[in-house]
Symmetry: none
Subunit: 219 residues, 4 copies
DNA sequence: CATGAATGAGATTTCATTCAT
DNA sequence: TATGAATGAAATCTCATTCAT
């Protein structure tokens, strides 16, 4: 007894009801899950079709081929984080508070979107070969470096931050402290023998990252 | 016999070494390269055979199957970093110097062995499923956490380090600051539009990591 | 994609039926022939694909793997003989006539379906390992034992059959007298130096089996 | 602590001590086990080497190739049963007693040497292709047909056996009643749900076979 | 005589992609 | 637009047999 056996009056549950937008979105969601959990080479087109409840042919219709689908997933994932970053409002927070908010935001994003980390890992394994094909790479640039520059400048002026900090290096470091922990939580958990994924562990890590960044920056 | 009757094997140029140790080592070296550059799913057994100049059959003879080979590569790679770490002699360096040496060592290792990063990425993509199969996981534990504990304690006593630092968090952070940069250098280079792999960039990163760690720790 | 990019499939002459039922049946028929003539280990998936005129990939699509195909062949072959047995109508034949009909039927089946014997031989070589995996083993039980019980009881009551005959032993013996002759006709023919497969030889054997069973049973 | 660790004074346990006869015999024994349990196609040369404790190369030295080894196993197995049959002494037993002894002997042989059945099954699967290659096929003819002729003649003259019995058909039937039961004991046990291999079951089968043959023959 | 590493052909299985309906 | 059967190339893995030592 699946959706197929219902009466025609009731709209069918799955996609497949000739709604191009929903079909496309369903494929994209399934593909994001598949690519991020298995990587580009491990992902299976059949599985994406199955997960999305969409006919395999539609994948080729909408995305050309497996690579085209992956590219779309990759771009959408970058777009999502960049969009979230753009929505980050530090307003007129004092430098330290602003920095704390920025660090918390980055950590929060990675905790909420671990699948993005897997896409990054896959993409780096392929030496960014696919990312380079995207036409709008420039737009993938993070607004956080700009925000960091501004915060650092204000903090230095107010004598609460040290001088001479490169905002790009700091941006990478803030990402590193969170991304690496989440990216590598499976191997780290295995070797340490305790689960780095537990809420308490995640909270501790967040505190630590804030502490390390602010500790480093203090004048 | 039957459909399986074979023609006499023609003598070949390649390394028909009849030296099991070298054959095994050649396979392992080629496999490390292939798995780290393509991942578990992207790696090709044929390519490993070609690279190592060894008959494909030998791979199955020595390692059982592709997964067995990957497992051996993984274990050997972990063993290599752990061995290097064990050889790290901080001697009686003052806390700050010791910390600097430890951070430099970690950064140096990752710069010298980027293939290890790719194996880590692959393994985490697979949720450490293979790592968990290794019988000696416990021995894969890093001695650096112990060294860090000792350094931190000494530094606190000498009032050059802050108190309350968790050595495991710090260990992860030191790794993160280096590993993430190298792991993600391809996507970061693409997006920033400049090559993070250049010697100058690597040197700058090393300095930054030392600065951030020591800056954070200062009392 | 990658190393796996394929050329467009060229339309083919063979049965690109797009008729799942017929494709499945074609595979099954070819597989029955191949497994029964070569055994499980000697059978070749390529040959089954060739014989059935079906793309090899379809075999895996419909049957999972070689073993799954073999299992299906085995089950279908058992089902076929059991179906034939169920259609055997002894009606109200007098015991001796009924017994004759049953023996003739069994002999007739084995002469008409020697491939079933080979499957049995293969399966016994494997110590019934595959048969044990079938979910409906119970339904493979022969109705002939029940018919034999009934015939024996009537024959005893009418004083035309001896008493004390175990219907299961008799069932096995009736099968044995026919199955063994057909199963082993190649070695027996070779050693005796004459062809046990000739129509005349088969007829003689049928008569002999009837004679031996009825001769044994006579009161 | 294996044979290898003993003092040189004591002869080594395994073969491999430059005793051609023992090496050959060890291979043959292992090969008989392997071929009879796996069939010709399922048997593995490596496994035979392993089982016999002999270097693989020796197999090729003594037997040419896998097929040559199989042929030798086959011939030896036929020779063994023929030798046993030749040693059967019915002496001047009265016809009924002689027949009982012959039937018991045949049943006893098959119970004691089930591996022979598997070789027969394998050979028939291959349509006796290998058996036909043996140079001394004629000598593989069973002496039992002759003994049966003599017994039947005496029994008819003494009016204890029926007339018109073809000794070859009877020979095949006596073999059939035992061989089929043992050959097919795995599938039959599976379907009947009880073990036909148990001592009690074997004893019952022996009694049944005697009963059916003597019952049929009685005048 | 003895060893066991090495070989190459071929077996099973997988997968992105296409096509008839 | 939608379906899912069909395709062929290539992947992993196996095995009888040979050869250097």
């Amino acid at each position: 007894m699946d959706a197929r056996t219902r009466k025609p009056a009731v709209p069918k549950a799955g996609p497949a009801l000739r709604d191009p937008g929903r079909t496309r979105a369903a494929i994209l969601a399934a593909a994001t899950g598949e690519f991020s959990s298995k990587g580009l080479d491990g992902a299976r087109v059949d599985e994406i079709a199955r997960r999305s409840g969409v006919n395999k042919r539609m994948i080729y219709h909408y995305f050309g081929d497996k690579e085209g689908l992956y590219l779309t997933v990759l771009e959408a994932s970058y777009a999502a984080i960049r969009t979230a970053e753009h929505e980050l409002r530090l307003g007129d927070l004092p430098p330290i508070e602003g920095m704390r908010a920025l660090v918390r935001f980055t950590w929060g994003y990675v905790v909420a979107h671990p699948e993005f980390l897997n896409l990054l890992a896959t993409e780096n394994l392929h030496r960014a070969a696919n990312l380079k094909k995207l036409p709008h790479i420039r737009e993938l640039h993070s607004p956080l470096t700009g925000m960091l520059s501004e915060l650092l400048a204000r903090g230095v002026k107010q004598k609460v931050f040290r001088t001479g900090v490169d905002p790009v290096q700091l941006y990478i470091s803030i990402a590193a402290l969170g991304f690496f922990y989440m990216s590598n939580r499976h191997t780290l958990s295995t070797i340490f023998g305790h689960d780095l994924d537990m809420p308490r562990a995640l909270a501790d890590r967040g505190d630590h990252i804030v502490e390390i960044v602010l500790g480093y920056l203090r004048a």
